[in-house]
Symmetry: C2
Subunit: 489 residues, 2 copies
């Protein structure tokens, strides 16, 4: 059932096509698919012409891979070619003359020279309107734009092993979030605690038994109070999962090759939700102070989760890997000696006698940027990767990767902000070569060189940053000079 | 093999008996069991005479259950009876006239009235000498006390469902730690990084091939550097596991009834290691500032670990529980409606349609002190509980409980301390009724009422604390007025 619903949702939020008949999914049949909630997007930059450069001849599959850049870059065909030029490494930013991005968002990117044929990273910046799907009281109400919700959305998608997943996520993840929020429109606007239980369908509750709506006044003494904020967090978490499942369903198509880290920001009803699945990073710089808004998910930071899974489900290791960690690869001649190891429950190290199965390759190995799961992938959360296999093997790696983000919430109404405060999102390319403090210092230096009212200052500061430390992609979001201004941005 | 080794170790560290013949465990046969490394303990306070009070007649099993209090309390038979008196609730502290505990340790306890017949909590304070078992170079060396190591040890054990586990842990856990450290004596005293690989046995390496000792200069470029500190952490972690396995092996005996939270502190070579498995708490008060040295492991804080296990191993739920969390119990008549839930990957909440299996009892339910795993136990880490079953069921709960502690390290050489700085260990009874700040304030107020050189000030301050906020047990450790003094305490 869950899969059927998810399939329907996946279809709904995909860019093309009307929803399929879903006689058993009444909840979804009310979705206003005929009136897209998000205004139709401008066509994305066209795919690059394969083989136009001087590099090695493209394989057929590469020629078919889409290469597009974020719409807001408004790249001409010439600009697109330059963006794809590994030798020149032109920094791309939105034109200063065009329509500005919301919240004075700046953006800059540069191709990661030599790493892949095309830039596999994507970015997205949207204002999304959410129309409620149902009434909490169970009585269907007329759709009315006035009763909907709006959220601001920024996303960075760091692709790997192909650009398909990042491209798909940048096109659809915010629609999955919108889809998850549709049930919550009325609840989030009602200051009373969310109802713990809702009637099954809008129509069914027309059998209007008010006991169907079990609110917090229920007779159960030990019920938890659930906040509005945690509903938004849950909606974002499930949206990531639906996005990932849609990729699984469509993975045969060339457009969903590879995987991507996803770092997205949702601003809704006064709060900033930063959701991170991967090794990108978000920080807020508030009056010079750095507030980390994410943490990185890598084989090192997620070692114990990975090892526990390998321990509980040894079949996932295919007889090729051991869930134990060793500080280096063991050599066969060391059998019987005593080697340092860590099990899934340990943070410290201890010695163990080396047995035959310890000679298998460790599930988690390496350090820092060289850390790998199954000797293959250096990041442990994200979207896609459904086809990813261990090198020279048929063993799938996906079971060890999680599509779930960690969501951190920042309540904008709780803090005073000055005009130069920013939220910075960067893929690992940025953070590999610079630190939080250096980013904050650069932002401060560049912004202060402009008049406070100069509308180009945020664009340019991003550009300068990227120019000095070439990286894949970076979004610089200026979140206005005081919380009272945010709502009207 | 591992089990055999563990069984041997368990036997070794148990209070009685010589080690059994272990022809295939040469590592252990070198243990100096004939010369106990820890000086023989004074006999513990004798068991209370069952049925001597006015309460209901004791069952046979209760009469057999040991009731002892920590040796350092030096309780007379009369004192022991008073300690067991639920009406009087006399506060017990070590006599001020006797031999003081190391590091000016203060201690106070009071029975948790009405909760259990006897006080199920225990405490321990020891100075433990560790004699090295082997030479890193593989050449057996003569035992010499001069080459050993000493650690200071404090432990609090909050028992439940019987006092056996807490009593056994207070008697043996430090011996398990000593056993784990025996291999490390030479390594920890050598300033060079620990060898990643050791020869299999001291004798075998007498075939003196130096390549058996694979040090950090190995040709592998991607080897991890392991710190001395992480070896001690690993030793403590494994000691907890061995202790728990010994309890499993001996659980048929009456002395290992129930389970216990374990909070222990090891001071070794300038560093304080605080290992916590359960809901006790340790804080350091440094110049009025509070440094948390532990976190509590409860059904709420470990929800996602528990749910993941239930999700991956549904057979552990026995068809009686669901791994999903709901904010309250679902009623059968709500089938088909939509209820808030959290899955193992989620921190937020979302609605799902209620299906038949959602009517099962949630694996994790309740809030705060009422939170429970399988509707039974309110703590998720600790030792023992091997016989614990779901109420009115044969379903074991132990698979969901972890015996592994979280170990935090505090480097005493890195900080300046003033005379009133303390380390406070308390079971949940203390923290339920007071906060970290209140404890720090009370310590400050009481200590400053004494002359700095008054040797009774730490004892008394503990007593005052306990007197005001009756709780099970509390250790107050004064860690000296400057790191340079620590080594000679």
């Amino acid at each position: 059932m869950l899969n059927r619903v998810r399939s329907a949702v996946a279809h709904l939020v995909s860019s093309g096509g009307a929803p399929p008949p879903r006689p058993k999914s009444p909840d979804l049949s009310n979705a206003p698919s005929a009136q897209p909630a998000v205004p139709p997007e401008a066509p994305r930059s066209p795919p690059a012409r394969a083989g136009s450069g001087s590099s090695a001849p493209a394989k057929t599959v590469e020629a078919r891979a889409s290469f597009s850049r974020p719409t807001f870059l408004q790249l001409s065909p010439g600009g697109l070619r330059r963006a794809d030029d590994h030798a020149g490494r032109a920094v791309q930013s939105p034109p200063d003359t065009g329509r500005r991005l919301p919240w004075s968002t700046g953006y800059a990117e540069v191709i990661n020279a030599g790493k892949s044929r095309h830039n596999e990273d994507q970015a997205c910046c949207e204002v999304v309107y959410v129309e409620g799907r149902r009434s909490v009281s169970g009585v269907p109400r007329e759709p009315s734009r006035g009763q909907g919700l709006c959220f601001y959305y920024w996303g960075l998608f760091d692709g790997h092993a192909g650009g398909g997943a990042a491209e798909m996520a940048s096109r659809l993840l915010h629609r999955h979030i919108r889809e998850q929020l549709k049930d919550l429109v009325e609840i989030l606007q009602d200051p009373s605690p969310p109802p713990l239980c809702l009637p099954s369908t809008p129509g069914a509750a027309g059998s209007s038994d008010p006991s169907h709506l079990v609110g917090p006044q229920s007779c159960w003494s030990s019920q938890k109070e659930v906040t509005h904020e945690s509903l938004v967090v849950g909606a974002i978490e499930n949206a990531f999962q639906f996005m990932d499942e849609q990729m699984a369903q469509e993975r045969r198509g060339h457009q969903v090759e590879g995987g991507c880290c996803a770092l997205v920001v949702v601003y809704l009803l006064g709060k900033v939700y930063v959701a991170n699945a991967g090794d990108s990073r978000a920080i807020i710089v508030r009056n010079g102070e750095i507030i980390p808004m994410s943490r990185e998910f890598t084989p090192e930071t997620e070692r114990q989760r990975l090892q526990l899974l390998g321990f509980l489900k040894p079949e996932l290791l295919g007889g090729e890997f051991t869930h134990l960690e060793f500080p280096r690869r063991i050599q066969p001649k060391e059998l019987g000696q005593r080697m340092l190891y860590r099990d899934q429950n340990m943070t410290g190290w201890a010695y163990k006698k080396i047995e035959l199965e310890d000679l298998r390759f460790p599930l988690v190995c390496g350090e820092g940027k060289k850390a790998r799961v199954m000797a293959t992938i250096g990041v442990t959360r994200g979207l896609g990767d459904h086809n990813l296999k261990v090198c020279s093997s048929t063993l799938p790696i996906k079971p060890f990767l999680s599509c779930f983000p960690e969501v951190r919430v920042y309540d904008l109404t709780q803090y005073e902000h000055c005009p130069d405060d920013v939220l910075v999102l960067g893929t690992d390319g940025l953070w590999d070569v610079t630190s939080d403090c250096e980013v904050a210092a650069t932002v401060d230096r560049v912004l202060s060189a402009y008049e406070p009212n100069d509308p180009s200052r945020h664009f340019n500061s991003t550009y300068v940053r990227i120019h000095h430390f070439p990286t894949n992609a970076c979004l610089l979001v200026h979140h206005a000079s005081g919380h009272q201004l945010i709502g009207s941005s």
